[in-house]
């Protein structure tokens, strides 16, 4: 590339300074324009609600507003995830001067009725009492449910109340102001210190301190003028969709987090690696990059400073192992995604052999909030060692299944009984599984366990990326273990023997037991293989894949015992 003359650089910077003012103006314009409306309808169009007919609801609302002649007075927004996916599609009505009102299980017919019977009569009549006909009343979802009140939404804060495709709205909600604060008021060292002080740890599962990771990259020298940061959006855990919703709800927060990290560490470009199975998330990442480029948030001499950064999107192709950082980098390089041994760590030799850090989607989304509100604010929530909030996909046999964000340290009981509203089947709660195929079960007797990195590890599970599956009395733990192990055996890349062979043999033995043909010796063998896999596997997939099996054996031995052929014989005889 041709070197630019000082004059050219100065010209570029002048453009950048203007772009910064223009961006902030976009936010102001949005706010001013928004003031004009008398009411707003937020209707959820995240993946779950969209699949449940959310798009049709949106179209119906739009049509109804037009028919009623209210399009100018009522703003209609298709939002990101509102949270309570099981009651979707959801729609929230916010009329100026009134309490927000939430509707569940929306249909196009109900959409028309809402405009006619709820919104139209109330507009311009602040004194009028809301009286709903029974067929609308039964669609109300109380916003006082513990599902909503027990949450603390930081990362998900604006997801259900903004247009994911509107950059102006993102800026109006404080977006890119953390980046501006970093670029104009803080040195890279100060940014780094702030992240370190906040105690933020990786939300992808491992829980490595984010600030420490960034520091390693900051210290690493550029190689051929490059250092990289990666956003890991390869959310392969079956039954978890947090990252999908965060990206789908507007990817600017994640991009802003990456930009801040780049400023703090000296990284030159960033890569989004997102699952192919998430079309909405992919679309939104692509749009965010496009908008950011146009607004001068990505490129050379951003906002007239000496800071330059570019970002690109790369699409995963359905390999669970690519969530592991070294395998992910192999895939980004255009290879099959098999992990490589560490050391060297990615901060020494990462993507294309250059220093690299990888953080999960949720981790990135936390970063702008920490900069805006301060490390102390962030650290005031959570436990001693696990700070901030955590997003969970609360699913399975739970009444209020959905996407939730709670302070770290919230107990399993609060999650299942309060937020989740208990089991959906009415049968007694038996266990929750966290960490997906890498995690383990938390039995009902551990209800008071606080959800944080250390405690979960202690009982043989892990935080994981945030999948939380609730199981009731009717679920067989042996079957669950078999399901997860079947998954990891299927997804093992085959590179190292402990995972490739160990997993296969373990599954064979487990199937034998599940079929009622196993013995105590088989059970012992499973434990032995599991322990060898934990110690000997090359990457996280193999090291953690025995967890669902070992933890169910630990907490529900009687279920295994009941299936054994020699169940009446004393062990070891």
């Amino acid at each position: 590339m041709v070197e630019m003359t000082p004059e050219q650089i100065e010209k570029l910077k002048a453009v950048g300074r203007m772009q910064k003012d223009k961006l902030l103006q976009m936010g102001k314009d949005f706010t001013a324009n928004n003031e004009k409306y008398d009411a707003t309808i937020f209707t959820c169009n995240a993946t779950s609600c969209h699949s449940g007919g959310g798009q049709n609801v949106y179209e119906a609302l739009k049509q109804a507003l037009e028919t009623a002649g209210l399009s100018e007075r009522v703003r209609l927004v298709a939002t990101g995830c509102m949270g309570l996916c099981a009651a979707g599609p959801m729609t929230r009505i916010e009329i100026k001067g009134r309490k927000p009102f939430l509707y569940k299980e929306m249909t196009p017919d109900v959409a028309h009725l809402i405009v006619e019977q709820h919104i139209k009569p109330l507009l311009g009549h602040p004194e009028m009492e809301l009286k709903l006909a029974p067929h609308l009343q039964e669609k109300e979802l109380s916003m006082d449910l513990p599902f909503f009140t027990k949450q603390r939404r930081v990362v998900l804060k604006h997801l259900g109340s903004s247009d994911p495709e509107d950059l102006g709205e993102y800026v109006a909600n404080g977006g890119y102001q953390a980046l501006i604060k970093c670029l104009f008021e803080m040195t890279p060292e100060q940014v780094l210190d702030e992240i370190k002080k906040s105690g933020l740890r990786g939300r992808g599962g491992g829980g490595f301190p984010t600030g420490k990771k960034w520091e390693l990259l900051a210290k690493a020298p550029l190689v051929d003028g490059e250092k990289f940061i990666i956003c890991n959006g390869d959310e392969g855990d079956p039954g978890a969709y947090m990252d999908s919703c965060i990206l789908g709800g507007g990817s600017h927060a994640v991009l802003e987090g990456m930009l801040i990290a780049a400023y703090a560490t000296g990284a030159t470009s960033g890569w989004f690696y997102v699952r192919a199975e998430y079309p909405l998330a992919l679309e939104r990442v692509e749009l965010a990059i496009k908008q950011a480029k146009k607004a001068g948030i990505l490129g050379k001499n951003i906002f007239g400073t000496d800071f330059s950064f570019m970002a690109e999107l790369r699409i995963g192709a359905g390999a669970f192992v690519c969530g592991e950082e070294t395998a992910l980098m192999m895939s980004l390089e255009g290879n099959k995604g098999t992990p490589r041994p560490r050391p060297p760590y990615p901060t020494e030799k990462g993507l294309f052999q250059k220093p690299t850090i990888i953080n999960n989607v949720e981790t990135w989304a936390n970063v702008p909030q920490i900069i805006l509100n301060g490390a102390d604010w962030f650290a005031s929530v959570g436990t001693e060692t696990s700070k901030g909030t955590k997003v969970f996909a609360l699913t399975g046999k739970v009444k209020h299944s959905g996407l939730v964000e709670v302070p770290m340290g919230t107990t399993v009981k609060e999650m299942v009984e309060d937020v989740g509203g208990g089991t959906s089947t009415g049968k007694p709660f038996k266990a929750v599984q966290t960490g997906g195929p890498s995690g383990g079960v938390i039995p009902a007797k551990e209800l008071n366990l606080p959800l944080c990195y250390e405690e979960l590890k202690k009982i043989g599970s892990m935080m994981g990326s945030g999948g939380m599956i609730v199981m009731d009395e009717s679920d067989s733990m042996v079957e669950i273990a078999k399901f997860y192990l079947g998954f990891t055996v299927d997804e093992s890349c085959g590179k190292c023997a402990p995972c490739r062979l160990g997993g296969y043999q373990m599954l064979k033995l487990l199937t034998k037991i599940a079929d009622g043909k196993g013995t105590h010796a088989d059970l012992e063998k499973i434990k032995e293989i599991g322990s060898a896999m934990q110690k000997g596997s090359l990457c996280g997939l193999g090291q953690t894949s025995p967890n669902p099996v070992l933890s169910t054996i630990k907490y529900f031995p009687e279920e295994y015992e009941a299936l054994l052929q020699d169940k009446d014989e004393k062990k070891g005889c």
Partner: protein
């Protein structure tokens, strides 16, 4: 490979030529164009991008997302992620296999339906879930399978 297809592949080659780590993205685009990754087209792409045949085959077979055979007209994705699994996802697969007479991963003889088992479609709140050509069926039970398939069959007018 006919001229029309060659032109499609050429466009992909132009887009990704000289870019780092382009193979997976180029294969995605091939699949986007043809519905699967046709071997002849993939080979031509490899030659032009300087990627050996073995590596292309390796990637195509390593990643679940790539299809090397043309799928049926209607692609049925049944979710067997954890949330769907514990709510009966596996029984949906059995029912579909029974109804269509082919195992998961195969296309029916008339070329109409291709059944694939997927891991999480990101709408666990609706579990168990099945998607046919972009249309989602949530909170599904086995007794609904037959009529849903018949609706799609009816589109063919038989």
């Amino acid at each position: 490979m006919n001229e029309e297809n060659k032109a499609k592949v050429d466009a992909i080659i132009r887009k990704w030529s000289g870019k780092r780590g382009a193979l997976i993205m180029a294969l995605h685009e091939l699949q986007g164009q043809f519905g699967y990754v046709p071997w002849e087209e993939a080979l031509y792409l490899g030659q032009e991008l300087g990627i050996p045949m073995a590596k292309i085959y390796e990637c195509l077979t390593f990643y679940n997302y790539f299809k090397v055979k043309a799928p049926g007209k209607y692609v049925i994705s049944v979710c067997d992620g954890t949330a769907c699994h514990i709510k009966g996802g596996a029984s949906l697969i059995e029912e579909l296999e029974k109804e269509l007479g082919v195992p998961a991963g195969a296309t029916t003889d008339d070329g109409l339906f291709y059944v694939q088992v997927v891991r999480c479609l990101g709408c666990c709140g609706l579990a168990p879930v099945m998607v046919i050509n972009g249309v989602t069926y949530g909170k599904l039970t086995t007794d609904k399978i037959k009529s849903i398939i018949n609706e799609w069959r009816a589109k063919e007018g038989n």
